[in-house]
């Protein structure tokens, strides 16, 4: 669904409802190490619209000029080889750039994801040159995969490897190369079309189950806003510019105070116990829960983690990791979580 003016996306701040999805996305922007979001839900529930609209509220980040991986000098561990040298010698120029939403089309091929030889350059000059692919573009950005459950398996493996290592290794067509690939992976899927491999499911830090709004008034409002946007995209966007800017500022503020949010021992114990109680394997869930709670506190401008920070974010992390058999789904119960949490934190 897009208007006549193709470059404009429906504004994030005017999307009706779907609070859980919005919150999950915001938390991941504030702290990318939460590990991405999987949006699971019926068709036509504004999954793609919401993700694409994120571009408007993404903050600016530092970047080394002229680098095709837009390396950030603030993250010395995730630099490409060229930038590493530059940073070590201290000779580099930097600019500010907006984070982007990079999309991976369903029919993308391996060479364009990991990158390959720049044919044009080679034909012209006879020189081998690596041309970055989608993973190179995604570095330091958001990578959005629509219909992630329908992606070919070898593509999924490629994504998983890079996401896990934060680096993309290219070994093909006489090129041996690696570059940083740290991105927030956002996937969306409609479970009716097929399921997702559990390995991939587990890689997503969060998972949101999206439902259609049932309230007729809300639904009417959705249509009205969409029609208004389609009729006059520029005007509609201009009209809510203040809200968009305010939200972006809020994100920037949250990002900068993220490290000041304290995690008390009580919170750590509570999260560890929740993990055990809900049968989580490994530590991915624990870490994600702590990070999400921190990001949530930061978003609301607090430096202490409260009951609410954990209670409202833990379900996003636990639900898709619960073990279930082929014919029955293990059920996540918010009440169970809350009573457990109350026991450890006192509410």
């Amino acid at each position: 669904m897009s208007g006549k003016e193709k470059s404009l996306q429906f504004p994030f701040v005017r999307i009706v409802g779907q609070e859980e999805m919005k919150r999950a996305l915001l938390l991941n922007i504030i702290d990318p190490s939460i590990g991405g979001v999987l949006l699971r839900g019926e068709k036509g529930t504004a999954k793609s619209t919401t993700v694409r609209s994120l571009a408007q509220i993404l903050p600016q980040v530092r970047c080394i000029s002229g680098c095709q991986f837009h390396c950030n000098p603030d993250a010395p561990r995730d630099l490409c080889d060229d930038c590493k040298k530059k940073v070590e010698s201290g000779e580099f120029e930097e600019t500010m750039r907006s984070m982007r939403v990079v999309e991976l089309p369903l029919n993308a091929t391996e060479d364009r994801i990991s990158g390959s030889l720049d044919v044009e350059h080679v034909l012209r000059t006879g020189e081998r040159k690596y041309e970055g692919g989608v993973l190179a573009q995604a570095n330091g950005n958001l990578l959005y995969v629509d219909e992630v459950n329908l992606l070919d398996d070898h593509i999924v493996d490629l994504l998983l490897d890079s996401a896990a290592m934060g680096r993309n290794f290219v070994e093909r067509e006489g090129i041996s190369f690696s570059h940083p690939a740290r991105f927030v992976l956002i996937g969306s899927m409609n479970p009716e079309e097929g399921t997702l491999r559990p390995q991939l499911m587990d890689r997503f830090g969060m998972c949101v189950d999206i439902k259609t709004e049932r309230d007729p008034d809300v639904r009417v409002e959705v249509i009205k806003r969409r029609l208004a946007f389609d009729a006059d995209p520029e005007g509609f966007t201009a009209e809510c510019k203040a809200d968009v800017d305010a939200l972006r500022e809020k994100i920037i503020a949250a990002k900068s105070c993220l490290n000041e949010v304290k995690v008390s021992d009580k919170v750590l114990t509570a999260i560890a116990m929740i993990s055990i109680e809900f049968g989580m394997e490994g530590h991915r869930a624990d870490l994600a829960m702590i990070r999400a709670a921190k990001a949530n506190a930061a978003l609301e401008g607090r430096k202490e983690i409260t009951f609410n920070d954990i209670s409202s974010t833990a379900s996003l992390i636990l639900r898709h990791r619960m073990k279930s058999g082929p014919f029955e789904e293990a059920e996540f119960r918010q009440s169970q979580l809350d009573s457990l949490l109350r026991g450890y934190l006192g509410s």
Binding site: M1, S2, G3, K4, K6, E42, K43, G44, T45, A46, P105, L106, N107, A108, T109, E110, R112, I113, S116, L117, V119, V122, L123, R124, G126, R128, D146, E147, L150, D152, D153, H154, R172, G174, P191, E192, E193, G194, T195, R197, P198, T212, E213, R214, P216, R219, V220, V222, I223, K224, R226, L227, D230, A231, S324, G325, P326, F327, E328, E329
Partner: protein, 606 residues
Amino acid sequence: MEDALRALTCLMVDPDLHGLLIKGPAGSGKSALIHAFSAAYTGKRARIVPQNITDEQLFGSIDLELVLSTGEVQFEPGILGKEKDIVLVDDINLLPKNLSLALMDSVHRGEIHIEREGLSKTYPCSARIVATANDREQPLSSGLNDLFDMCVILPRDPDCEKRCAVLESMLSESALEPEVDKELIERIEKAKGLVGKIVIPDQILEAIVETCDMYGVQGMRGSLSAAMVCRASAAIDGRTMITEDDLSFSLRTCITHRRTHLRKQTKEVEDKVMFFGDSHMKRFIHDDRKALQEKAEEGEEGAASTQAADFVEPVKKTKEDDSGPELEELVLDMEKLFDTIDLLDDSRKKKGPTDNHLLRRFIKDAGKEGRYVSSCPADGTTSDLAVDATVRYAAPYQNQRRKNTGRDGVIIMPSDLRKKVREKHTSCLFFFMVDNSGSLVLRARMRAVKAAIVSMLADHYVRSDSVAVMTFNEEFIGMLLPPTRSVGGVKKIIDDIPTGKKTPLSEALSFMHQYVGQYLRKNPSNVAFVILMTDAGANIAMTEGNDPLEEALDIATRVRLDRMEMVLVDTKVSTEVNEKAKKLSIALEAPYYKIEDLRSSDNILH
């Protein structure tokens, strides 16, 4: 026909409408109508997307000819990018799903995004998609259905005279140059100017939202499309006021392919009758019902409804009379009608839980089929050349070679040649063929059958596999659940298997043979496991006078197919050996099992 024509016109009027789906059996004039419309509006036939289209042809690719002759890399847009008006996708249900999804996503976004074969590009696209589907055999997935703003069902014309007229016009049409219909163009241009000025009243929006909810339409696209169609429909007639006819038309076209059948909501619907109390909506409900009933009577779904009706309560057809039944009854009757129509394809609309144990099966280097994943040096005899990879490999040596030979362009040596490595996964269809005839009427035995199916699936289901359930008895032989990957729905379906009547075993076998054969031809990388669950108590023959069992045994020897394996599960509960079923299993060359043997750990399929 009128609906289809109006829908096509709407599509041209509002640029925010992107897709129209026309369903109907072969020979209902789907493509002819679209071509005729395109000719009248643009002066040329609609651009066709052929069945064997590749991603490159559709979305665009590098102009290889130019690369090879000059060394210049230039982009060549695909069919979708070149066409500004109507792109016709015939039989979209037979295209690969990912291709169709990428296609629809591109038109909705208004731009094409390619990351393929060394090409990265985003460019605008303004084509409108009109697709046809005859989805009786290969249903369109609900997600794909939803991406089409409108859907019209065309019935086959049973009238001989009309058929002759169609034939005549087809014969003459091919001789004549398509002529632009000035009136149509003028009407559309006028409507285009008008459509932005129309304000949709809240009342109409509320009606749309409520109706979508009533038919279980998921997501917001249905309501949104309906709102836009309302507007476009009014604009076509040169009005700025939206009338009941516009509303009725928009709901008809926007809900048909999106509704999920929700029987359990009957009670809720009763509550909603309150809402429909105002006279405005009364008319609409009536209109909609009439149209749907006509459709059910004439169209292909009519056949399905009469078949389905055999094991559900009979359909009550209400008189089309304004002063007729109470409004409440109307709503309920409409619900009932949908019930019966949808029973057969309903299953795939139910959502299944996610499975969690998976195995993947791959064949690499799968000949010329499958997806092109990478390349390797060609051995000199290949016909499956990876041109892009070859050019990439030859690229670094071009300067040197040009110098040596004094020639221009790209110089390819035999050592550069690369061939495609293709990969495909095999997947498997579990085809349950369940005898639900009188000999199985004992509830307890049916339960055993159901339990057996579930336990078999729990053991053998892997993600890429599909499941289908076919049932047979005297009154109905056919698919209760067409092949689907959503295994969760299977359990619900199995719970609902009705029983009763006699056993037409031979007819059921030949139906299975035809259906599975067709499925395997369409899915050349698949294999099928047929699990026949019966007590082999055949008592209806296909040809009168034949002994039913003898005939079934005879047919059984002739239903074998490549890539199909069969298993016979004897559902007769007794301690003695069931001779009939034994004989049948020998004729089928299928392993024989008794239903008691099927415990969850038994591994009969591997």
